[in-house]
Every structure is written in C-alpha cells, then in structure tokens.
Symmetry: C2
Subunit: 685 residues, 2 copies
C-alpha cells in the first residue's frame, strides 16, 4: 500500500480535470458517479466482498444476476430521468452485458428512426418508461450481417389486414438477439416483406413476444436461451421460431416504406432510407467509445498491480536479487503505457465521431444527408479498429499480470471475455473494414480522375497526399530528428502511408479488372491489402482527432501529460514490438533506417516521461473498486490481503470448511476413494 | 454436408499418412485412438449429445467433472499400462486441465530426477500406480517464477530428525498448484531449507497433505480451491497454508543436496544440480508440443465451419448476391491457412526439441551435460513462442467464425480460455524469452572475441552469420525471385535477421555498460529488443526444424503438400497483415522493396496451392467429434442442425419448457413483474 501511495504521489497533474474531459464535463461526471453509486448500493457490490458472479453460479444464476443488474439500471434511468447507462453500464462495459442493452441501443432508436409519427407516439412512451422492453431481432442461425439473405418472412394477409411472421426453415431461426430468451416483451423483427407473392426485401416489424399476464410466449412463438457464451452471460441472448404469427398491419414500421390497407407498397424515399443508417452509425461509434473504457479498466488493473507487485529480474551480469515493482521493467511499462495511450486515443476519436454524428442529425433535419456515407464507414472503421485494439490489448494487459491475471478474482476474465465479443458483434471487423475500403477506393477513383469533389473535409488529406505523390513529392520522410518527436509531424507519416496504400489498392484493383478479372474476384484478390488500407485511414483519423482534442484541453498540466500520451500512441503505432502491420510504414522505404532508430529513441524518452504519471492516468478514468471487481486493481494497492480474503469467501471453500472440515465430500466419496481402492487392487495383481 | 463432402474430395494426399507423422507412427496413433475412445465411452461423450460442461454447471460441478475425467485417464493409463495422456489429455489439451496434470507432468518427474535411489524405490511405484497422487507446490501468493524469493520455510529439527514446514507470512501461502485444492494426497513443496538458522535456499520436500482414511487435511495444513479461472476449471488449482507441519528428514529429496542425521548439509554436485533442470526442459518442450494440437483443433473447427458457412460478399462493382462458402474469401483462408501452417511448424519444432531432450538424457547418463544449457533456453523459447502464437492464433480462428464462435457450443470458448493460460504458466513468456536472450548474448560475446567455442551445433549459424556480417557480406538479400519461393533460401533471411539482431543487442548492451550503466539498468534499457532477438532465434529454429522434418517424409503426396505448408509458414512470418514484429525483417533494408512485392505474390500462390487441401490438412490431426466438442467443427459438416439441437438440450431451456411453458419463473416473478408494476406506477405519476 505504501508503494501505491508513493507512486500516486508522483502524479504531475490534476487527475480530476482529466476525468471531466473523459466523461464530458464536471456535471456529467458527477451525475454518472451518483447513478453508478445508487445502482451499486442496490446490488450490494461494495468492492470489499467477493463479487457475486465469481462464486458458485450456473448459467441460470448468471442470467438472473444480469437481469437484476439490467433492471436496476433501467429503473434508475426511468425514475431519475437520465440516460447515463445508454451505452455504458455501471461497470463501464458495453450495455449489451445486460438483457436490456438492445432495448436502449437498438429497439428504441429503430422506433425513433423508422416508425411514422403515429407509431412513434404510441410505442416510444411505453418503451422509454420501461413498460415494454424490446430487442432487435435480425441475426438468424444461417445469416448474420448479410442482410439480403435473411429468411424470416412477413407475408401480408389483405383479408385480415395483418402480417404473418414465419420462420420457414431451421436456418431462419432468429438466434443471438440480446434479451430474447426470457427477458423482453417485444421484438423488432427484421423479415422479408411479401405482398401477393412478391418479395419487397427486409423491413422491420414490431412483434409482441410474451403475454404480460403470465409472461408466456404468445401462440406460435418458441423462445429460449442460447446458453453460455465466452462472456456477457448476464444477457440471455436467445432464439425465436415464429410459426405463422399474426400481427396488425400497422406493426410494420412505416416511417419509410409503407403498406396500405389494400396491400399497395410505397417504397422509402431516398432520404428516409438513409435515416435508417443513422442507428448503425450511432451504435458503432458508441461501441468504439465504450471499448476505450474497458481497455482503460484493463490498464488500470494491470498498472495498479504492477505498482505493488515486486520481483527481481534477470540481468546481464551478476544476478541481482533486490526486488522492484514490476512496473519498473521495460517489458511491463512499455506494453502497459502503449495500451493506455491506445485507450485514450480510441476514446478521443470515438468522441469526435459521436460529435460528427450529432452534427449529421442536425443536418438531416434540414434534409442534408451529405455526411452520411462518410460517417457510416468512419463509424464502421472505428468500431473495427477500437474493437481489435481493445480486445487484443485487454488480453495483453491480462498477461502482464502473470498467473494471477488468469484468476476470475483479478477481474480480467470478465473483461477479456466481454471484449472478445466486440470484433464479431454489430458487424464483423473484417467486413466493416471492407465497407470502409470500398468507400475510400471510390473516393480515390474520383481524386485520380481529377474530380475536385472531395466533399468530405476529413478526406482532404487524401487529395493533398495524392497530389504530392503524383508530383513525385513526399516519397521520403524529410522530418528532422526533432520533428519526429512532434505528433503533428508524425501525422504526416500516417498521411503518407494511408494515401499511398489507398491509391496503390485503387491501381491494383483497376489493373486486375483490366486484365479481365470479375469485380468480385478482383476484390478478393486484393482483400487483405484493402482491409489494411482501411485501417490505415482509421489510424490517421485517430491520431488527427487525438491531436485536435489535445489542443482543446484548457488545463496546462493535463495538456502536458496528454501530449506525451498522444506522442506515445503515434510512435508506437509506427513501430513497437507488438504493433501489427507496422511493416506498412517501412515497406516503401519512406522512413529511413536512421529514422527508425530515432523513433525507437523517442519512444524510450516518451515512456520515461509518462511513467511517473502512470497511476494518475489510470485514476483519471474514475473506476470505483466495485466497478473494477478486481482483487489486483484495488485503488489502495492492498492486493494480497483482498485476493486471499476473496479466496476464503469462495462458496466452495466456505461449504467444505463448514460441512467437510476441508474435504469436498462428493469428490472424495464418488471419485477419489473408489479410484484409490481400484489402484491398490490393481497394483496387487 | 454436401459442401463438406465435395471439399474433402479435393484432398490430394493420404491424410492417414500425415496422421502417423503427427502422432509418431502408426502404432502410436492406433494405441492413442483406442485409449481416447475408451475414456470417451466411460465419460459418455459421443459428440452427439450436448457436452456436459456446456450446461448448468457451477464451479463445483466443473471441478467434479474434471476430477472424473482426470481419474478416468489415470486409471486407463495404469490399467492398460501406457502413458498416452502424459501431456496431452483426451481432448488434445495440455494435461493441466485435469487435477492430475502436475502428478504426471511434475510430481513424478521430480521424484525421478531429485530423489535418491532409496527414495525413488519407495515413492515412484506408489505414484505410478496412482495409489498416491501429488502436485508440484512452488508458486506462492507473492512470488511465482522468481524462485529465490519464495518464503515457505523447511526448518530442520535435529532433535526429532524432522523438517518443520511453515508458511511464515500471508504472501507465502502456496497458491495455484493444480489439484492442490481437494484432489491430491501429496505435494512436492518447494521451500527454503533452514538448518541451525542458516538458509540453504530452495529445496524439494515431500509432504503428505491428506489422510487416506477420511481425506481430511493433516494437522496444521489448510487447503482450499482458488476458484474459477479464465479456463481449465476442471482443475482445482488450490492454496495451502502450512502451520509448523512436521515431516521426516528423509522426505527431503536427497538425490542431489543432502541433510545428514546430525544436520550436516551436503550441497549438490554441479552435475546433479543440472539434472533438476531436465524436468523443466521436458515440461516446456511438452507444452510447446501440446499447444500445437490445440491450435490444430481451433483451425479444424474454423476451417470446417468456413467450408459449410455460406455468405455473399462485398465487391467492388455491382453487388453480387450469390453466396460462397466463406473459406473462399481471402480474409478467411489467408488467416486460417497461416494459422494451420503455424500449428504444423510448432508441432515439428517441439518434436525436434523433444528428440534433442531424449539425446540429452542419454548423454547425461554418461555424465555429459554439455547440451543442457542450450536445451534449457531452447525449450523456454519454444514454449514462449508456441504459447504466444497459439493463444493469439486460436483467438483469431475464433473470430473467423463470427458470432457463432462466441457461443460455448462452438467449442472455442473452452479452447481460447485454456490456451490463454499458456503464456503465463510454467514461466511467463517475457521472462522465458529473456532467459534465452541472456544465453544468446553470452554466445555472441564469445563469437565476437573470436572464440571458436560454438559448441552447440544449432548455433553454428550465428557464427557463420557473424563472419558474413563482419566481412561486410550478407547486407542485402541476393535471392532471385524464384529462390524466394524456396524455404531453404527463406531460411537465409531468418538467419540474417536473428544474427543481426543478436549481435546488435550485444553491441548495444556493451556500449551501455561502457557508458556507465549498471548491468541491470543496461538490460532493462534494451529489454524489448532482447526479447525480440530471442524470438528471432526461435523462429529460425522453427523454420529450420520444419525443413528438416519435411525432408524425412517418405510419402510423396504428403511431402508435396507439407512443402507448401512450410513455405506458407516462412513467407507469412516474414510478412503478413497479422504478423507481429515483421518490421524487423525490413528495418535494416536487407529485403528490398521489390522483394517484398515478390513475397506477397508468392504468398498468394502458396495459398492457392494449399486451399484445396485445407480439409485434408485438418482431418490429418485426427480429432474425434467428441474431443472437438464443437457444433461448428463436426466432421460431417452438419453444423446448423447440431447447433440448434444442442441449444434445445440446454438444461435451462429443458427446464423452462417443462415446468414453465417457456417462462423462466424466477426471472419473471422476482425481477420482471415487479419492475413492470413499478414502471407502470411511475409513469402514472
């Protein structure tokens, strides 16, 4: 604990000021703190007792706990009239850990954006007040993100003025939607609209799933849980089979496409179709924002533990048995500080994207959808990038905690298994990167043929970069050694790489098409490079947004330390032992061999500058001990006592101490004793 | 299922021949198949029913199941007189998933290597016949691999002719040993030997933990489970506190150091001390061998699923809604085939290391320990490398399965959470790499001062590489484009990188020391590069051993396809979108910009050559459906039916169908109904 105190005493800045920046202001911070504290109290989680889910729990217990947590958050939001848990739950995880994550994240937004005025007036108050709860029912057993192949059918019956929702095949079974198993009353079902045998494609239908009387599934509906997952087991992701289930015609969301009483179909206007994309933009940017907090949690636990865990180390000459906090070892602070820098980088870029989304929504009210395609791919790319970095990064932070990081009591198993969902949910990462790539390639085509229509300000760098490349400029990085210490100059390196790769991909695709490959084959041929190019753009965006956010920081102390953090993000993205795909910075000889060495030196210098503020930079995320649920990550550094105290509190140990004097009776009677007898008999043969 | 049949029909070689190579011959393969089948029958796992552990299980249930599995394997080994599960369990996982993993992996080997003849004659028959079971008790709450700081004490009491085992502090609590909680009767306790107040360092002591009468912990011993972990929950990793526990003097392992009746201490001879390292060499090489099988499992599931999962894709031009098995998409087969190549590469290099270990054991019988230091660091490096690649790789294979890979029913959660233990167990990866680095640097020092004492044949390449570098040769890769397709030429690139980095590290360390840094600070300064350099040597070793194993393959068809697999390993290690640290191949300009492009082209060509054999190359690993425990990885490709069948069989669904007509009563009565009433009341306010 002394080690923790003295480490914290080295902090050079006011951590509370940085907390306000992270949470969007002093008032926001305080209101969220209060809301979290209220719910923690209701749940009895105080950071001192063994967290409930670490004990003797089955699939059903985990679900019941998740339901309790989810309901408590929902009730707190309704009663205290706030949306502090709209994408970040009380544990600073994506709200999808709760059965009602999709209720706030997708069900209500779909009503807002796809219902007509009358429908909104009917459904929204019910949903907002929690009197009905819903899920978003898209994924089927056989198809996920590839919307066009969904099989569930909504056939219009003009006689009854109803739709008939039906699952025609095994693979059409709805599978995965959160809360679908046993928790929600309604579902927004994505199904093929069929009128008079004609298929009009996928539309959204409001289907009541359960009776409010006894909660039984309504006739023709089979519902169930899909079982344990790698993580997120508080959520009852479920399945649904519909057998000719009838709903009123007006339960189709008709803000865009419409079906009249006589079955006449009115397609959505071009504008309104675009509104439905907005839900996805928000959801993906929100996920990117959320995962930054989870990586922040992982770093907080690992850095705090590394501050109090002592160890000797190998050295080159005589062995040295004096011990140091392991944070002093380079392999520890290199990895953890780089991860911490990534957490901040993702938080800032997601924040930028969420702001741009708000601007888009205002523009859309004036009929201006021009930003939509760009923000659509940008949020997709950020979700993929943030998801990849934080899933890999929280796992690396876990490994930094050695053996103890493998215990649930460390909090890490919950974190890494939750994060592991991110690369595959709400659009699989490699598909999302490809969506971004397709858009960027189209832009690059326009630029190449001299089209000044680079209407998206964020993409002006591509245009400028292309002009430089075309004119034979910017083929070598001309920065001086000092300039390589400046994030703004490092941004030029990111610019060069993204531009070069996007235009090289465009040329490679063109050449493949010219040589006779079909579009699909040409795309497949260059797919890995296209995915990489999309990531390069996202990394440019992320560094650029980090720098811009930096400039807006008022507090001088905070700005100073965050400038180091930003620099660390930039330098380590270009080159670090764990960076993926960093050869893309070097493969064209843009950065010289000497410059690589300078970058290594600058990285070391920056690590030394950040190291004394490591504890301050984790405190700033403002995680309560209860929300960390980690014996290793305790704010006071009292690691070993809590770890052992929680071990003693494990229900299995309590039971075996109380009833078996240290013996697990079933283990002994059913397995061990018979086996010992068997072995003894056999050895006498 | 048709898709699977036609994919399998494309196989160009006799998969059974490759199976024999993987398992060490036809007879070995058959004997293991029979043993696995016997145990699977006893456990009732047939690959058709929902696997038991995917259902409604608590911490205790998981442990009881693990105990059942572990006992069944142990009994089968004893009764049928084999060691087929000595490091690979019936599910092709590291045996540590069972409470008796350390019994066979560490407890018995410690007796063999550290006991004297009389002790061996007493203890080994008891242990081999399973009449006693033991664990290896080293790690404490406060210290893991850093042996010298262990706190548990074994004080010699000359009056009683006994040792007194004692845990003097909270942090000295033994924590983590497998089976320690409730399963084993004995422990090999590593403790500080104290005679007449003098500390002789860490020695091994045989301690009986439990009474065979009633299984109660013997007086003064507190035992318990350490709770849920990220994975391996069939094992009751436990804790132990010793309060002045007395054991006979002869329970100290006295094959090396000895304590006489009067307390006289005889230190180990230099030779015998080296024997104790052999346990570690074997354990680490065996782990590396084992994890290759687990990555093989992950690839088998993901490739089989990708063969039957269909999806449309994005394309550059017009959208194309016809569907293809997702294995056709480059982002899928690129990642999965590279991972499969890594699984084979690790299997072969671990096999080479295990063979070298056998040679060492024969040499040691003649008093020749010369290979020991090299094999010690080589097995450490292989364990670190194999652990890193397979933990990251099985997670990437999981992501290749999209949403379904997140369900336990896919088998992936069990695989990735088990693999996640590897980088931190039996020596943390970054520590192991540093051990290897220290040895390599010492060798490099010798080479630099012209010492021909390069006594280890495997390291001759360093000597040759250094001569080339010193003479100004080998600064550019001179291979022709065709030569870059040949694994033996690619090995030269690996040689250059390893040599250059090891000697650069040596120079950097020397220069830091000369400038006045203390050894420890100098080491810390260059730690990340040292870790990388060690990995570069391991990668050289791995490719070299892959090539040598290749040459020994008799079957022409198998050799042809394995040559492609070997090439893919080499090419993708140099450069692939997911390769870590690949910039080390480029940062000195050794490989030209043109050559990088050639390497990309060769990679594509190789992928096309391997793709038709993807199913054959997974079938060759010979995993039964029961050992995969995956609805996605079924050999017949019948994915969706099994996935849904297992979902219906989930205990929670069975219960709610039977007793609640589709309602989870507790969820509804305790949480949902009260909340709906609350919300309704609140909305009326």
């Amino acid at each position: 604990m002394q080690l923790m105190q003295s480490a914290r005493a080295k902090t050079s800045f006011d951590t509370r000021q940085l907390t306000y920046i992270i949470y969007g202001g002093e008032k926001e911070t305080r209101l969220r703190e209060e809301a979290v504290a209220r719910v923690e109290r209701i749940l009895g989680e105080d950071g001192k007792r063994l967290p409930y889910v670490y004990g003797e729990v089955t699939r059903t217990d985990l679900y019941h706990r998740g339901l309790h947590v989810g309901k408590s958050m929902l009730e707190d939001e309704v009663i205290n009239d706030h949306q502090k848990f709209s994408h970040l739950d009380i544990n600073h995880m994506l709200i999808n850990t709760s059965p009602f994550g999709l209720h706030v994240g997708m069900f209500m937004p779909t009503i807002e954006l796809q219902a007509d005025a009358e429908q909104r007036a009917h459904w929204l108050p019910l949903a907002r007040s929690g009197q009905i709860t819903g899920t978003y029912c898209q994924t089927e057993l056989g198809h996920g993100t590839f919307l066009r192949k969904l099989e569930t059918v909504a056939r219009f019956d003009p006689k009854a003025d109803e739709f008939v929702i039906h699952s025609p095949t095994l693979t059409s079974t709805k599978y995965w939607p959160g809360g679908l198993g046993h928790s929600v009353s309604h579902a927004m079902v994505m199904a093929r609209l069929i009128i008079h045998q004609k298929d009009y494609g996928i539309h959204a239908f409001m289907v009541q799933l359960r009776s409010f009387e006894d909660w039984k599934p309504l006739p023709g509906i089979e519902l169930g849980d899909i079982g344990l997952k790698l993580g997120m087991n508080g959520n009852d992701n479920g399945y649904a089979i519909f057998r000719h289930v009838r709903i009123p015609r007006r339960n189709m969301m008709m803000g865009q496409a419409k079906v009249a009483r006589d079955g006449t179909y009115t397609p959505p206007s071009e504008d309104s179709a675009k509104h439905s994309y907005s839900t996805m933009i928000y959801a993906r940017a929100a996920i990117a924002h959320c995962v930054a907090f989870v990586l922040g949690k992982a770093c907080t636990i690992a850095i705090r533990y590394s501050t109090v865990r002592e160890q000797g180390n190998l050295s080159f000459g005589a062995s040295d048995s004096t011990e140091l906090p392991i944070m002093a070892f380079k392999s520890q602070h290199y990895r953890l500080l780089v991860l911490l820098a990534q957490a901040y980088a993702i938080a800032f870029s997601a924040k930028t994207c969420l702001k741009q989304y708000e601007t888009l929504r205002r523009q859309q009210e004036n009929g201006d959808n021009s930003m939509l395609p760009y923000l659509h791919i940008m949020s997709a790319g950020l979700k993929a990038y943030g998801g990849q970095l934080t899933a890999d990064g929280s796992e690396d932070a876990r490994r930094c905690c050695g053996g103890h990081g493998y215990s649930v009591l460390s909090g890490f198993p919950d974190i890494v298994t939750t994060q592991a969902s991110i690369p595959v949910l709400e659009g699989e990462n490699h598909v999302l990167y490809q969506q971004a790539a397709r858009y960027l390639i189209k832009k690059a085509q326009l630029v190449r043929v001299g089209n000044p229509g680079m209407d998206v300000k964020d993409l002006e760098y591509l245009w400028m970069g292309y002009e430089d490349l075309a004119a034979g400029r910017d083929r070598r990085c001309l920065a001086t050694d000092d300039q390589l210490f400046d994030p703004s100059f490092l941004l030029q390196i990111f610019r060069h790489r993204a531009t070069r790769n996007i235009f090289e991909c465009e040329a490679a695709l063109r050449s493949s098409l010219e040589s006779g490959l079909k579009p699909r084959a040409a795309w497949n041929r260059h797919m890995m490079r296209l995915i990489a190019a999309a990531r390069h753009h996202v990394e440019y965006y992320t560094l650029e947004s980090f720098i811009r956010n930096l400039e807006e920081i008022q507090d001088a102390g905070v700005q100073r330390v965050m400038r180091h953090v930003c620099r660390l993000y930039a330098l380590s993205t270009i080159e670090s032992p764990n960076s993926i795909g960093s050869s893309s910075f070097f493969e064209d000889g843009y950065i010289s061999i000497e410059q690589i060495k300078v970058i290594h030196e600058h990285t070391n210098t920056t690590l030394e500058a950040v190291l004394p503020d490591a504890i301050g930079l984790t405190d700033a995320w403002n995680f309560s001990d209860a929300s960390l649920a980690s014996a290793l990550g305790r704010k006071d550094g009292n690691v070993y006592e809590v770890l052992f105290e929680w071990t003693r509190q494990l229900p299995m140990n309590v039971r075996n101490r109380t009833t078996g004097a240290g013996v697990d009776a079933v283990a002994f009677e059913e397995h061990i004793r018979p086996s010992i007898h068997l072995m003894a008999a056999h050895s006498k043969l």
